[in-house]
Every structure is written in C-alpha cells, then in structure tokens.
C-alpha cells in the first residue's frame, strides 16, 4: 500500500520525477559507455596482435620495436640481417615466423614487406586471421595488397597500378616511379593497423630499391628484367619479425637466446608485456574520461537531492497528514527514501537500456571510423560495482531530504508552519 502511495505521489510530480530519472539514466549510460569504450580501446590495443610470442628486431627500445612493428608508428632505427632471420626461423622450438620489412609508404600509409606467413599465421583479437576481401595475396614481385582503409580512401581495386614512395612521410619527394606496383587484392577490415597498411613481398621491397645508393636513386633508370625475377632477388635485410614458439614455455628461454644472438645485435620482446607497459603510459586519458563520467554522475545524484528537496515543502502537509493518521516518523522517512530509491533504480534500469541501444547503433560507426571494437556483452563485475555505487549514492542522496523531513516533522507536529 505504501508502494501505491509512493507511486501516486511520484505521479503527482511527474515532470520533476521524470527529469530526475532521465538525468540518472543519462549519467548511468555515460558512465557505463565510457567504461565500455575504455575497455574497448584497451582490448583493441592489446588485441591488435595475438598468438605472437615474441617480436624480434634490432637492439633498441622495446616499446619502439612494438610501435613500429605492430602499430606502424615511428621509424625503425636499424634493420636485421635476413640470414639471422632464416637461422632463427629454423630453430627447433619455433613454430612460425612472420618477417616485416618497413621503410616506404603509399600516400602516408606504411608499406610492409612480408611473405605469405602473414596471411597464414597473423592473428588479432584472439584467433582472427587476415582475410582477403577481393583478389589474392601478393605473390609476384610487383604485387601489392591494400589494407581496407587504404583501399576505401583511394577507391582502389584489383589491377589498379600504384606508385609507392620512399620514406615514411606523407609528402615524400622521392617516388619509386620506375617500379609501379599492381594491386592484386584488398583485405577485409580488421579494426587494427592492418587496415592502414599496404603489403608487398620481401622481394618487392628489395626490388623497389634496386639502383638506389645512399638513400637516393641512381641516375640511370634501366634495370634488366632478368634482375627483377623473384628467384634472382637476394634479400639482404628485414626490419623485424614476429615469432610463435611450438610451446609457450619455451618463450623466455628463446628470448634469452635471441637477445644474446652472436651474429647480429637482436632483441626479442614479449608483445603482451610491452603493450601493457605502453597502455599504462596512455592511461591518463582513461582516467580523465573516468573523472568526467563521475562528475556527470554527481550531477545526476545532486538532481535527485534537489528534486526531493524542492518537493519537500509541498510534502510537509502530506507528512503531517500521515503523522496524524498514525504513521510513525520512521515510516515517513522511509517513504521518502523509498521514493528516491525508486527513482534511482528506474534511472539505472533505463540507463542500462540506453547503453545497449547506444552500443547497438554506434558500434558499426566506431568500428569503421575509430577502429574501436565494442562487443555487446553482459554487464561486467566492475560495471555491477558501479551500479551498486550509484544506487548507494542515490539512497544517500535521498537521505538528505529525508532527514530534513524528519526535522520538519518533529518541529511541526500536526500543524504545518510553512
């Protein structure tokens, strides 16, 4: 019956109650949304590469190695010998390797020289592999496969001819105009840096630089076709490579072995460790987002206090009536608390619905424009904790007007001195 009275009373103050519910719902949706995006960004980040046990490159900063190998950010300082690569590749504990050769770009997108292992073994977000949307993987020396975003941006399709440029800046003056590449395929979107890369063969990477000396092209442009046959091209260096062991337990041992590789100054990095380290340095952004959503929540809770507080005067009469009709002061207070709890609960419930509706509609947009992959999943324990906190906050917010009502009621007795 108390429920009935509360319901009637809330109905009587429809607009303010509704505004309260809406503000709680919005702050709940925002808080959870930020939480989802935070996790989505982190997972997207750490899941850019999976199943790879070690990333191997020239000695230097481990973070840098991960950045240029996986994220195509920054420039590699040194290359490693191809012979070192083939030697390590044939270690008995190695399952597979993916060579990566960097240094050129196509209109600002990095060119990655690699081999068919990339398409066979590269995994992201658990066990998702790279798939070709249209065409095939690069086989010939002048074959190129475009990441989804690159192809979308320049509307390239199979059999287009493109010119790669030397160096990695967007406006490179030096173009490999004497070695045009043919687009043989476009990759499916992955929401990872793969989408923003251009893939050629290791041989293609070498062929690009035929006749180059000291970073500039030699005057004469004619290169004999014989030299450009794939089997005749000798690969001298690559930038780095990804490696998976047959048995994960061997990773640390192998890492030590590579770090002390006698013929080449190599370094092996466990990607997960490096990625977490990198994410930690970015986490201040995360904290700012979190703080903002907490502020929004605080505003929502304050609106509950304000709404209950402003309705308190008109309810003084109500409270005196209830008192006269035999309800104890505790009952009056619990009526107010019940009401604020009801408002907060409804707000939370609608907020959750808003979250999922929002996720459903915004997801494709975030995935294609920001490479942010947000799975639609049940509420996590952390999120339940947030909701519990909000509920607790709401009850506390309801306590303030309830205490005020208690005081009024003590003072008023049965006569209202408004």
């Amino acid at each position: 019956m108390i429920v009935y009275l509360t319901w009637k009373s809330v109905q009587n103050r429809k607009l303010t109650s509704l505004l309260c519910v809406v503000s709680i719902a919005l702050s709940v949706a925002l808080l959870l949304g930020v939480e989802r995006m935070k996790n989505g960004a982190r997972n997207g980040f750490t899941n850019t590469i999976s199943q790879t046990d070690l990333i191997v490159g020239a000695k230097g900063g481990p973070l840098q190695l991960v950045l240029y190998t996986v994220f195509r950010i920054g420039a590699p300082t040194n290359n490693i010998r191809y012979s070192s690569y083939t030697e390590i590749k044939n270690f008995p504990e190695v399952d597979w390797t993916i060579p990566i050769s960097l240094g050129d770009a196509y209109r600002g997108y990095r060119v990655v020289g690699t081999d068919e292992n990339l398409f066979k073994h590269y995994r992201y977000r658990g066990d998702k592999g790279i798939e070709v949307l249209d065409g095939q993987i690069p086989k010939g020396v002048f074959d190129v496969v475009l990441g989804y975003e690159v192809a979308q941006k320049y509307q390239h399709k199979a059999s287009d001819s493109i010119i790669l440029s030397h160096g990695i800046s967007e406006r490179s003056i030096m173009e490999h105009s004497n070695t045009p590449f043919k687009v043989v395929g476009v990759l499916k979107p992955t929401a990872t840096p793969i989408d923003r890369s251009v893939f050629i063969t290791l041989e293609g990477m070498e062929a690009l630089h035929f006749g180059w000396e000291d970073g500039v092209p030699r005057k004469e442009k004619d290169i004999s076709p014989e030299k450009l046959k794939k089997e005749n091209i000798h690969i001298g260096q690559i930038t780095s490579f990804l490696l998976k062991t047959k048995n994960r337990i061997q990773t640390l041992k192998l890492q030590r072995r590579i770090d002390s590789f006698p013929k080449d100054p190599l370094m092996a990095v466990i990607p997960g460790v490096a990625l977490h380290e990198l994410w930690r340095t970015l986490s201040y952004v995360e904290n700012i987002l979190y703080l903002i959503s907490l502020c929004v929540l605080a505003v929502g809770l304050i609106s509950v206090i304000i709404s209950l507080y402003t309705s308190l005067n008109e309810r003084r009469r109500e409270i005196a009536i209830f008192r006269a009709l035999g309800s104890g002061i505790g009952k009056v207070v619990s009526l107010l608390l019940f009401e604020s709890t009801l408002i907060v609960l409804t707000g939370i419930f609608i907020g959750i619905i808003l979250l999922y509706l929002g996720l459903y509609f915004v997801r494709p947009f975030l995935e294609s424009n920001f490479s942010l992959f947000l799975p639609i999943q049940l509420l996590s324990p952390t999120e339940w904790l947030y909701l519990g906190g909000i509920l607790l906050g709401g009850i506390t917010a309801g306590l303030i007007p309830a205490i005020k009502a208690y005081r009024n009621s003590l003072q008023d007795g049965l006569t209202i001195q408004v």
Binding site: M1, I2, Y4, L5, K8, S9, Q11, N12, R317, E318, A320, I321, F322, R323, A324, L325, G326, S327, G328, I329, K331, Q411, G413, L414, T415, I416
Partner: protein
C-alpha cells in the same frame, strides 16, 4: 470508567527558556463533546499534539484513552493515534492527487490496525460515511476538485472511519463560510449522537460553544501567558 483525556500538572516546552504550556488539570470524560476556546498563540496546537501523542510533556501526567503516554513507547502512541484517534485539521489537509474515496480510506492504508477494526468491506464503510456526510456524488473526484465544504467533510469522514474513540477537531470551521460551518457542525454532531465518540472541538469562534456539553477556555487554563 477512565476519562478519555486526563491531564494533571502538565508542563511542556520546546526550548527550556520558553515554556509553552502549563496546565493544572484538564479532563474529558469518555463520550463527552467538549468545546475548547483557543485563539491563536495560546498553545492550542501544542496541546493537541500532546493529546495525539506526537509530543511528550516534560512534566506531569498525560493519559489518553486510559493509557499513560509518559510511559508509552513512541510506536505504541503512533499506533493508538492511528487506531483510536481521528484528527480533523483546520486546513482540511487532503492528499490532492488522491480521490475522495482514497482520501477517506487513507487511515486504513497507513495503519493496518485501523483496517482490522473495520468488519465491513472497506468500500462499504466509506460509502456509509459518505452517505452521512453528503459526499456520495463526489466519491471519485480528486480532492483538489472539491469545494471547501466538501473537502472538510471528506476530512471528517477520514477522521471518523473505523470508529475512533476520540476525535480531535482543530479549528475545523475557520476556513469555512457561515453556511458551510453550520452544515459541517450539524453533520459532525449527528455522527457524535450516533457513535458517541469523545469529541474535542477547538475553535476561536465562541458562538459554536453552545452546541457542546461543556466549554473550556485554553487561555484561562494555561498558566503561561503571552
């Protein structure tokens, strides 16, 4: 038989420095209808709050319906008020968003003991009272749509439902015009004739006193003078 209200040597204050009420003796017999003359500022609200068990005196005896309130728990006092005391306010104090019927039945919603007292179906009980108080036609109107006269009669019905032993009317007619005052008083007294509850009727309008068994003046009883 114990008196309905028995007050002896009572004193009450909200703040120690400002005593509000000091009464030597005030007694109301069971079934008596008493007129209390009480202009504003004489401690009338406080006295009614005490009788209703909202406040407790700092000194003296306060017995209501045979119960010594001084030694009765707050919960028990609330229960007695809900069950056996009907209260009519000066300003009607209906819940504006409930309809007439819901307002009359409100005590039964708030105090389950009140509901248990009523043997008839609640609706029937309310309808009977409404019939006595000329409210039958407006039972499903919202309280805020009623005229002042109707509102006060709804308030009376609310106070009378479940046959309380004691009815306190706090200036029930001061918001009504002459015609409504008369009508209200006659209906209330007719209910009293029928049910013989104890009626404490407070008003600043001394002309109404002649309708009652007895008339007392609170300013004369209260030793605290303003």
């Amino acid at each position: 038989m114990k008196p309905a209200i028995n007050i002896q040597n009572l004193s009450f204050h909200y703040e120690e420095a400002h005593p509000i009420l000091e009464l030597d003796t005030f007694e109301v017999k069971m079934g008596e209808k008493v007129f209390v003359y009480g202009p504003s500022g004489c401690g009338k609200s406080t006295l009614l709050g005490l009788i209703a068990g909202i406040f407790l005196p700092q000194q003296g005896t306060l017995e209501v319906l045979g119960l010594d309130f001084g030694s009765t728990s707050k919960g028990k006092r609330d229960e007695i008020r809900g069950k056996e005391i009907g209260y009519i306010f000066q300003t009607f104090n209906l819940i504006p968003y409930l309809n007439c019927l819901e307002n009359i039945l409100l005590p039964c919603i708030i105090t389950p003991q009140k509901k248990d007292k009523i043997t008839k179906p609640l609706e029937q009980e309310a309808a009977l009272l409404a019939d006595h108080l000329n409210l039958t036609d407006v039972m499903h109107k919202k309280a805020r749509q009623l005229s002042v006269g109707q509102q006060q009669r709804v308030a009376a019905a609310r106070a009378l439902i479940g046959s309380p032993q004691l009815v306190i009317a706090d200036e029930p007619t001061s918001s009504l015009d002459g015609k409504n005052t008369n009508e209200f008083l006659q209906l209330l007294l007719r209910e009293w004739e029928e049910k013989k509850f104890t009626l404490v009727f407070v008003s600043h309008d001394e002309r109404l006193a002649e309708e009652f068994n007895r008339s007392v003046s609170l300013p004369e009883m209260n030793r605290i003078r303003k």
